[in-house]
């Protein structure tokens, strides 16, 4: 084991996959000599050459569309969007072609789209978004949102092995702020399995990505107040681990759903709706959702702080729930 940041774990995974499987290749803007806007692919073009780490023109549709074509010809493309926000430019390809092809004609499309997402750095409305809910609504796409270096590495390897289009959301805030021991050898973590990030008895928080850390911070405060918080890190939204969520809620009878994407029709609504249907009798309090408000992501720090759910907000929501 060696200490790795979240982004180092991703780079390591990419390098291992490129080494073990000739079919894997990377494509995206500035990912070659430059190593990508966040340096996730640094050094890889040097090792694997310009036809396995391919610098692409500023053409998101061509990037993802050609990834699909290459996948149909037997390769395993891993594409990078420079920021997750820019995937909107290739929305049609993902939703129209990649998502539906297997259902329609039985052609598997094993592509991975890496998406540096999330806010917290005054990236403003176009460099901070969390569009995972949008894609989790589209049948045929898988959606992954790791929160730790270990998960990032293992889920990315699983995404590359998966025969479907996988949107892999990497939270930029975690890239260099989170570091832990990561197994050096290759391993996979199955898509669709949540992880109990923290066990507890009184309230359940279901969340993913950077918000797992915010929830963890809040849980410490609650613990001190005598409320035991269970945190479920969903890790993947599509498929999502209903059983893990339902099991926890049946135990705690109280649920907070927390996410950084905006609230209305965000994926939190799906979780809340599912629990409201399937664990109705076990609930002792209304299901609460805490999410970003329904605005674009603002640039200026005081506004952005008001936009992204903060530990204090989570504390208050949990206190309310516990007191209900």
């Amino acid at each position: 084991m060696a200490e790795r940041t979240y982004i180092e774990a991703i780079t390591e995974c990419l390098r291992q996959e490129l080494r073990r499987d000739q079919r894997v290749f990377l494509l995206g803007e500035d990912i070659g000599g430059f190593g990508g806007a966040f340096k996730a692919t640094k050094g890889l073009q040097e090792e694997f050459g310009p036809w396995r780490v391919i610098d692409m023109p500023l053409s998101e549709t061509a990037i993802l569309g050609s990834a699909t074509g290459a996948a149909l010809m037997g390769l395993r493309p891993v594409a990078e969007m420079q920021f997750a926000d820019f995937v909107s430019c290739a929305y049609d390809h993902l939703v129209t072609v990649a998502a539906k092809q297997h259902f329609r004609v039985g052609d598997a499309i094993p592509i991975v789209v890496r998406l540096p997402s999330g806010g917290g750095f005054s990236g403003g409305p176009f460099h901070s978004q969390n569009p995972e809910s949008t894609f989790a609504h589209i049948p045929g796409l898988k959606v992954v949102c790791p929160s730790t270096p270990v998960d990032a590495k293992g889920l990315l390897a699983a995404a590359i092995a998966d025969p479907n289009p996988v949107l892999f959301f990497e939270h930029k805030h975690l890239y260099r702020s989170i570091r832990e021991e990561v197994p050096e050898e290759r391993y996979t973590i199955p898509l669709g399995q949540a992880r109990i990030r923290r066990a507890g008895d009184d309230v359940t928080v279901v969340t993913w990505g950077a918000m797992t850390w915010t929830a963890a911070e809040a849980a410490v405060t609650l613990e001190a107040e005598g409320t035991s918080v269970e945190i479920i890190d969903l890790r993947t939204l599509q498929p999502w681990d209903r059983e893990a969520v339902l099991t926890s809620v049946r135990k705690t009878s109280r649920l907070l759903v927390l996410h950084e994407d905006t609230r209305t029709a965000g994926f939190g609504a799906e979780i809340a709706a599912t629990v409201a249907e399937l664990a109705f009798e076990q609930l002792d309090a209304p299901i609460r959702r805490l999410a970003a408000p329904d605005t674009p992501v603002p640039f200026s720090p005081p506004l952005e702080k008001a936009f992204i759910p903060q530990a204090d907000d989570v504390v208050r929501a949990l206190q309310d729930l516990a007191a209900y």
Partner: protein
């Protein structure tokens, strides 16, 4: 002012032979065109009989272009045909009965009733199913070519589109990427004068759509799409050039949509003169005349061929009608591929 090369007509038998087509090939091309037209004519009947759900589109007038290009592809080449390209599927070897089954939404159509019309493909035959959003499979074709380049395989991808879909952004991104990376892809624009009801002059403002090739740095060629011999020759040139590492070509094939956009459309917006002009050059008739004049294919031989095609299609239709509708209990299958999907030959 055009920057594209305007291709010569198909010419004489000896010219066709020089371009790689012997008499047998020519007869095969004719047969494939008859099959294509026969399938679509029967499709229209089926539609009128209420046996085809939804809408129905044909490629009447495009048989020469579709067959001509597809017949120039190598066995390992791939393509992304669209809604006027039944002929491509016929050439690539899809059995007609399965096409009828597809039209009728039956279990044995290539999409097992999940999609209709020409919305299908078969990777084993080198075709990728279209999505209606035109021309969203063009970047996919470029990606196939990218895979060939990465793996140094001598294969070529063919990307079809139309005069209408030529105006979508996907075309630009695709052609530019293909040019920058000198990928083995041939772009085939079937310019049939209309996009639904919209005439060329409301779609673009250059002389030839093939002129756009120069904007990316490769060759543009305009060919008379009603002349299957010329289409075949130009497609073959472009494909072999791509195979040899010469990069992309844009081949604009000028035809006419001889019917409405789809069965519900009487195309009353098309000027009579234009239709009449092209009716004279119906690609099937034109090729029949050419075969008679240039290759000595007499009435008898032609009739025999036509009869064989009719017979085969009648049988195919019977077989398709025997195919059941899909079982609604299967609806949820296959939204996601399972791991064994990657055991298919092309994924290994």
């Amino acid at each position: 002012m055009t920057s594209a090369r305007e291709a010569e007509p198909g010419g004489s038998l000896s010219e066709a032979q020089a371009a790689g087509l012997d008499r047998e090939d020519l007869l095969d091309i004719y047969r494939l065109m008859l099959v294509t037209r026969g399938i679509e004519e029967r499709g229209q009947l089926l539609y009128k009989q209420g046996k085809i759900p939804g809408s129905f589109y044909t490629g009447r007038g495009n048989e020469g272009s579709a067959v001509g290009v597809a017949r120039a592809m190598g066995p390992d080449d791939v393509g992304t045909p669209l809604h006027r390209h039944v002929g491509v599927h016929v050439v690539r070897g899809v059995e007609p009965w399965r096409i009828f089954a597809q039209f009728m939404g039956r279990q044995d159509g290539p999409t097992r009733g999940r999609d209709g019309n020409v919305h299908f493909g078969d990777l084993a035959l080198g075709t990728i199913a279209l999505s209606s959003h035109l021309p969203s499979t063009m970047p996919v074709a470029v990606g196939c070519a990218l895979a060939f380049r990465i793996q140094q395989q001598p294969r070529v991808a063919v990307a079809w589109y139309g005069d209408g879909s030529a105006q979508r952004g996907d075309v630009h991104e695709s052609m530019n990427l293909a040019a920058v990376r000198q990928l083995p892809v041939v772009f085939v624009c079937d310019n049939n004068h209309y996009a639904y009801s919209t005439p060329n002059r409301l779609e673009y403002a250059v002389e030839h759509l093939a002129d756009r090739a120069a904007a990316y740095g490769f060759e543009g060629v305009v060919v008379d799409g009603t002349d299957v011999v010329a289409v075949h020759r130009e497609a073959r040139r472009a494909i072999e050039k791509a195979r040899a590492g010469g990069g992309p070509t844009l081949l604009e094939s000028v035809t006419m949509r001889l019917e409405g956009h789809a069965v519900h459309d009487d195309a009353s917006y098309v000027p009579h003169e234009l239709l009449a002009e092209y009716a004279k050059n119906d690609p099937v008739d034109r090729f029949r005349r050419w075969l008679a004049a240039e290759a000595g294919v007499g009435e008898d031989e032609q009739q025999a061929l036509a009869a064989a095609v009719r017979h085969a299609l009648d049988e195919a239709l019977h077989r398709a009608e025997a195919s059941p509708l899909p079982d609604p209990a299967t609806l949820l299958d296959g939204v996601y591929a399972l791991p064994d999907a990657l055991d298919a030959p092309h994924h290994r």
